[in-house]
């Protein structure tokens, strides 16, 4: 067969025999630290809530191409209207990837009891007085009642996704697997939140969709490893559990790497070319996929080791499972 010379096949090791479980302790430590750091970050400094969840208004303001929009003048003009904290942030112009200073996104609150439409009009007037003629390409106003509901339904969606995944794995595999998968999921979700805080990405409805997708992907990855693990547990009835785990991860490693790299590369294209609206979304997805891959190797499987797994009564009686770290509950 004239199939030689395909570089990638050569690049990827044909058969690995890495001792993943040996490093589990160290990675577990790292994971615990990162999870704690992320959780702390979610509360302090906290998520950068978009107007979907915080309520208020966001407007995209642009001067004609080539002209510079005076951000400071815009900020102070809107600031004088007594709307509280006004955020003005320069962004890339329509159809371009670089910030040429002509476009900004403006975020402010609508004070309780004031008419949305009227406030938006006041802001528009104040801006055109301060910096001259501008155009508004995207305007969104979300009432505080709606934003509260959106936030609750977002949390509910994340929560039920995790619960359903747990139920699914429990049903399809065994309780230990379900537990391992859910710890992995929580780990991934919390770390994505950590990244959102760290990069000051805007937490919006789209971000909830990104996290749900990460949940789907991470689960996908975990299932592939678990599936092989279950198969190998049946196949090698007497092999120590930690070796079965190592074997299963090694056997699925090529697939894990290929799929992960494909997904990450595609998302990188999306982050670079998708424009302002998709940047945060694709960055979170990309990070989530990397973390999801990591967690299916280093969080899900070692937890099964920690917890132990039932391998059929006959086998158990004949030969107790040798466990490095713990025995069955």
């Amino acid at each position: 067969m004239a199939m030689r010379g395909w570089p990638l096949i050569k690049l990827l090791p044909v058969k690995t025999n890495l001792r993943f479980v040996d490093f589990a302790k160290y990675f577990a430590g790292l994971s615990v630290v990162l999870v704690i750091a992320s959780l702390v970050g979610v509360f302090y400094p906290g998520l950068n809530m978009g107007i979907d969840f915080r309520g208020g208004a966001s407007m995209e303001v642009a001067k004609p191409a080539g002209q510079v929009l005076d951000l400071e003048a815009t900020r102070s003009a809107v600031g004088e209207l007594g709307l509280g904290d006004v955020q003005v942030q320069g962004i890339a112009r329509l159809g371009s990837q670089v910030d040429d200073g002509s476009t900004a996104v403006l975020r402010f609150q609508i004070p309780e009891g004031r008419d949305q439409t009227a406030v938006v009009q006041q802001v528009e007037t104040a801006i055109s007085q301060a910096v001259g003629e501008v155009t508004y390409s995207g305007v969104a106003v979300v009432g505080s009642k709606v934003s509260g509901e959106l936030f609750m339904s977002g949390l509910l969606a994340l929560g039920s996704a995790i619960v359903l995944m747990f139920a699914y794995i429990w049903f399809r595999f065994e309780p230990q697997f379900g537990f391992g998968a859910v710890v992995g999921l929580l780990h991934d979700v919390i770390l994505v939140f950590g990244l959102i805080v760290l990069m000051r990405l805007e937490f919006s409805l789209n971000m909830v969709a990104a996290i749900l997708t990460v949940i789907g992907y991470s689960m996908n990855d975990t299932v592939v490893v678990f599936d092989r693990l279950r198969e190998n547990l049946r196949k090698y009835k007497t092999m120590p559990l930690r070796e079965v785990i190592d074997l299963s991860i090694n056997e699925t490693l090529t697939r894990t790497i290929i799929t992960g790299i494909t997904a990450v590369m595609v998302l990188a294209a999306l982050a670079i070319f998708g424009g302002e609206a998709l940047f945060g979304f694709s960055i979170a997805l990309m990070f989530g996929i990397i973390i999801g891959t990591y967690s299916s190797i280093y969080v899900g499987a070692p937890i099964i080791l920690l917890w132990g797994v039932k391998r059929g009564a006959a086998v158990e009686d004949a030969k107790p499972i040798k466990l490095g770290m713990a025995s069955r509950p």
Partner: protein, 529 residues
């Protein structure tokens, strides 16, 4: 079993035909689509507002406000009825669903009850909205029934949707969608709307037009200071001038049959209107009885004009003059013709995207999709060679075709995050092929024959593929159940993608490899090196 089974080939051909049939209208211009024969599908991808530009408004019907207003009207009805029956009263105390009247003379209690019962008579359908109860002492309560109070919300939302639809239609906006959400909310989506502020202005106005007499006995000064007669109210006009106006409504917008833009004798823009029979009669009687007095034309609590009655106006038509531009006059006319909203509508969420921003998003999404697709193709060819890699690329192409076809067919909305979902679907679709191929490699390395390796590859990978895709499906369904707006679009794209990628990746690989096996009769698996 890895052989060229007939039903798999048929299924593949059918899905290809389905894909082409439902996806290809997207390549045609609107004119070409219109020229297609009737039996061919014409639906194209339904782009979300973030991709084509437009306005999204979430409106909430203020049912509480409407109830409060109807309770005020009930109070006024009671006051007027008792006065006409010459029954002296000492107080009208509104409560949460009606009014409690105190009758001055206990001897008049029966007369008062009889008079008020007229107000609680059943309507034509035999249902009484209000009921009269005698309370302790000399008090009588006239109040809405539980049913009437509970029904007000639902009726108000239904009526509001109708009114909003009529008003938007009069703006000439193309294909607006007006849907109910929850118990008290209305979603308006107007693609391509150029002036969202106008849309909001036109929808948001209650447009309750009333004609009420000006209370000429009351002093405007003391009213401004806070002393308003109980049967009157203090209103202002556009310039902020105060008027004391009798609460009783002579004629209201409900009795209006038509309105149009006209001009007054000096040629300025004015609004001509016409009443129905009841309206004409009441208006005629009132103007005949009040010549020389002033009446007020009131729209949504603001005095539009307060002309003096020169003579009885019996023809049933009239004119409102004021400082109107042609645009404001036609907006006003549309409001009057569209009818009044039964309750105020509050805009609680508003999103606008200009067409340019939408077009830009489409371009960005298109470029990223193309690049993402190219990366996957290059990667698969590099990793698995022309044969196996090529088969998964064909699978991907079929997948893309099927997704476009399914989205066009179901008219699901494609949003910007939806495009991201699409790209991710491609990446994960490759996973099915990778799982299958890696299995085949394992088997071949374990020393199995080509046929046995291919067979085992499919059989062993299938369970994993199903499990992996089902979890994505669960996530998508949750997004659909809890998500709003763009999240739902994303979820739908993901759902379609799960089904099409399972179908295309596995089926294309099975048919392709079986064919290869038959034609090339290989001795070795090329990917097993």
């Amino acid at each position: 079993m890895i052989h060229l089974s007939r039903w798999k080939v048929i299924l593949l051909v059918l899905s290809l035909a389905f894909g082409v049939l439902f996806a290809y209208p997207n390549l045609l211009s609107p004119a070409q689509r219109a020229a297609l024969p009737g039996w061919l599908p014409k639906n194209t991808l339904n782009l979300g507002l973030d991709l084509q530009g437009g306005s999204y408004l979430l409106l909430e019907v203020d049912v509480a406000e409407m109830r409060a207003k109807r309770i005020v009207n009930t109070t006024e009805d009671a006051r007027l009825t008792l006065r006409e029956a010459r029954i002296a009263t000492t107080g009208f105390v509104p409560d949460d669903r009606g009014v409690v009247v105190s009758v001055a003379d206990p001897a008049q209690m029966d007369a008062a009850l009889t008079a008020l019962r007229v107000l609680a008579q059943p309507d034509s359908s035999g249902v009484a909205e209000r009921q009269v109860t005698r309370l302790s002492g000399n008090r009588i309560r006239l109040a809405f029934t539980d049913q009437a109070i509970n029904g007000m919300g639902a009726t108000a939302v239904d009526q509001s949707i109708e009114v909003v639809r009529r008003r938007i239609d009069s703006l000439g906006t193309r294909e607006p969608s007006i849907t109910r959400q929850g118990a008290t909310r209305i979603v308006v989506q107007a693609p391509g709307e150029s002036d969202p502020a106008q849309l909001e202005r036109v929808i948001g106005q209650t447009a309750q037009l009333t004609f009420q007499m000006v209370d000429e006995t009351a002093s405007v000064e003391s009213a401004v200071a806070g002393i308003v007669p109980p049967d009157a109210e203090l209103l202002y006009d556009a310039e902020g001038l105060p008027y004391v106006v009798k609460r009783r409504v002579l004629v209201s917008g409900e009795n209006l049959t038509s309105a149009r833009v006209g001009s007054d004798e000096t040629g300025r823009t004015a609004i001509d209107f016409r009443f129905d029979g009841i309206g004409s009669r009441r208006f005629g009687e009132t103007t005949a009885a009040n010549i020389g007095k002033q009446f007020a034309i009131i729209l949504d609590g603001r005095v539009i004009s307060a002309p003096t009655i020169q003579s009885a106006i019996t023809g049933g038509s009239g004119q409102i003059t004021g400082n109107y531009s042609i645009q404001s006059a036609s907006e006003f006319v549309n409001l009057l013709n569209g009818g009044a909203l039964p309750a105020p509508l509050n805009v609680i969420e508003r999103r606008t995207v200009t067409a340019e921003l939408g077009a830009d998003a489409v371009a960005a999404g298109g470029i990223s999709t193309a690049i993402g697709f190219f990366i996957i193709v290059a990667f698969m060819l590099l990793a698995y060679g022309f044969l196996f890699g090529g088969i998964s690329v064909i699978g991907l192409l079929l997948n893309g075709l099927l997704i476009i076809a399914a989205m066009s067919l179901t008219q699901a909305t494609l949003t910007l995050p939806g495009i991201a979902g699409l790209i991710l679907t491609f990446a994960v679709a490759v996973d099915a092929n990778v799982l299958i191929y890696e299995r085949m490699r394992d088997e071949a390395r374990a020393g199995r024959s080509v046929i046995a390796s291919l067979d085992a590859g499919f059989n062993k990978a299938m369970g994993t593929i199903v499990d992996a895709n089902l979890t994505t499906l669960v996530a998508a369904l949750i997004m659909f159940a809890f998500g709003a707006g763009p999240v739902r679009g994303f979820a739908w794209t993901l759902t379609i993608g799960v089904f099409t990628s399972m179908l295309s990746a596995v089926l294309v690989a099975q048919v392709g490899l079986a064919w290869w096996l038959k034609v090339a009769k290989p001795k070795k698996l090329p990917i097993a090196e």
